[in-house]
Symmetry: C2
Subunit: 331 residues, 2 copies
Amino acid sequence: MAEKGNLAIGVDLGGTSLYAAIVNTDTGQIYGEAKRKTQAELGAVGVADRVAQAVEEALAQAGINRKRLIGMGVGVPGPIDTETGIVIRLTNLGPTWEGFPLAQTLGRRLKMPVVVENDVNVGAVGEHCFGAGRGCSDMVALFVGTGLGGGVILGGQLRTGFRGSAGEVGHMLVQADGELCGCGERGHAEAYASRTAIERSIRAAIAAGEPSMLAEVLQQGCSLLTSKYIERAYEAGDSVTVRAIQSAQYYLGLLIADCVNLLDPEAIVVGGGVLERMGDAYLEPVRGFARQHFLNKHAMESVRIVAAELGDSSGAVGAAVQAVRRLKGAA
Amino acid sequence: MAEKGNLAIGVDLGGTSLYAAIVNTDTGQIYGEAKRKTQAELGAVGVADRVAQAVEEALAQAGINRKRLIGMGVGVPGPIDTETGIVIRLTNLGPTWEGFPLAQTLGRRLKMPVVVENDVNVGAVGEHCFGAGRGCSDMVALFVGTGLGGGVILGGQLRTGFRGSAGEVGHMLVQADGELCGCGERGHAEAYASRTAIERSIRAAIAAGEPSMLAEVLQQGCSLLTSKYIERAYEAGDSVTVRAIQSAQYYLGLLIADCVNLLDPEAIVVGGGVLERMGDAYLEPVRGFARQHFLNKHAMESVRIVAAELGDSSGAVGAAVQAVRRLKGAA
C-alpha cells in the first residue's frame, strides 16, 4: 500500500482522547488510524496500554508490515525530557505521569524506538510539513483551545531549545500582573486569548448581572462552555459573548505581533478548537490587531497569518515526522 | 602586526558619537580605532564623510595594508534594508537618512565592500563571539540605555528574520495598552525598562511633589537625567530613584522570562549604558524577577543571565564579524 517514503506511527495523546495514525512522513498521507477515549483515570500504565492498542488497530487497518516502520512519535500535553522520553508531568492526566518512562514503556511493548514530544510542538511540525505552513522556512504555530500552545519552526526545524523547553508561546506576557494563567503565573497570553479566557469573561459578565443567552446554559448545570456554545451565542450577536471574543482576538493579535517583532517569521499558523469551530472569520480581526502592532509595518505587511489546515491530525502527523527526524539524526 | 585571521573594519554609528575599529574577526583583537562626534546636523552625506575619516584614522593607527581587509560592517540605530545597505530611517539622526544608500556611499569612498546592520543586532554578535556569550550556540542580548534593544543568536548566527526585521526585543509587550514607547506603540518593554523609562518615573514622582535629590538637578536646568545622575541618587538611597530602578529591573526580568519561555536560549547577555554604569549589582534583582517567571523553573535554573563584557566596542566588533560572515557567504 505504502509504496515510497518513510513510514512512522504518530500518536496524539490528549486529556480526553488519543489518536494514533500510520503516517508516510514524506507525503503526510495517513494509511491507518484509530481513536480512543484516554480514560485518564486508568493512570499512566493503563493509558499507555490504550495507546498501544490504538497503534495495533491502526497498523491492522493500514495492512503494513511493521518492519517497514522507522519508529513512533508521541505528542503529550505537558513537559517531557525529550532525550529520555520520560514525562516530567501531565497536569491534565493525573499524578501517575510524573516521571513516567513513556518512551521506554511503549518501545518495549511495540518493539520499536519511541520519541516523545510536546503535543503543540509536534502540531507545529505537522502544520509546517503538510498544512498551512508548508514550504515556509520559518513559522510560528498557535493553537487556541482550552489552553493556548504552539511551537516555533526556524530553518525548517522545530525549535526545541537548549533544555527542550522552547516554544511556550501561550505563556508570553501580555499584561504584567494581569489575569491568572493556567500555569499559575499572571498575565500570559493564554489567560487572555484561550477558550478558557473567553469562558471566564462570559461567566464574569453573567455573574455581574449582564443579560446573555449563555446564562441559561449555565443555569442548566452545564459545567463547561464549549466552543460550540460560544460560537452559537456569538453568531446570535449575544453582546457578552461578542465582547469576550473580541477581547480574545485582540490579545491573540498582540501575541502574534510579539512573535513577529521578535522573530520575523514567514508565516503565523493559527489552529485549535476555537479556530476550527469559528473558521477564518475568527482570524480576520486578529490579523488586523496584529498588523496594527507590527513594529516595522511596511516590511511586515507580507507576514501570512493563516488558519491551520490539518485539524485534529496535526499532532499525530507532526509526531511521526519528528520521530523520523530524530531517529535519523536530522533534528 | 596582524598575523593571522580575517581582518575587517567595524563601525558603530550612534546619534551622538561614532566609533571605527580595525578588527581581527577571528580573535576579536582591535588593531586600531578612532572615535568622533557624529554631528548629526551635517546630515547623511556629512556624517558618512566623518565615518570615512574615522576609518582612515583607525587604518593609519593600525598600520595595516587595506588590501588585507575583507570589508567593512556598519551598525546603525534603526531599520535598514540589509540586502542593499540602504537606510530605511534613523530617527535620532534626522530626515536626510531616509532612503540613504549608506553601503554604496561608504563603499565607493573607501573602495571596499560595505555591509550595514542594525547596531544592537551587531552588538549581540560582538558579545556572542568575544564577550559574555562566547561559546554559546543560542543567546539573547539586551542593551539597556536610552532605548532597549538587542538581538537573537540562534545556532551561532544572528537571527535576522525573513524580512531582516527580527530581534526587536525592546518592543515586546509587557503591558497591553500601557506606557507609550519610543516607537509610538504602547506597553513595550522599552517603555518600562530603559533609562528613559527610569527617568520618566523619577520626573513624574518629582512633579507629583515627592521629595528627591534629583529635583534639584532638574531645577538647575538639566535636560537629561543621565545614568550617572541616576546611579548617584540610587546609591544615596533616594527613594524615588530606588523605586524607579526597581520597577525597571522588574520589567527587564519579565522580558528575560519571555525570551526564555519562547526560545530557551543558553544565555541572556545584558549590556548598555545603564548596566555599564551600575554593574552586576543592577543585574542581581533582575535575575530574581526573571527566574520567578520562568515557566519550566527547574530546567531553566541553568539559564545564564550575565553582564555584557565588551562595553562600547561590542557594536563595532560585531559589525566587523557580521561583515566578514556576509561577504564570505556564511550568514
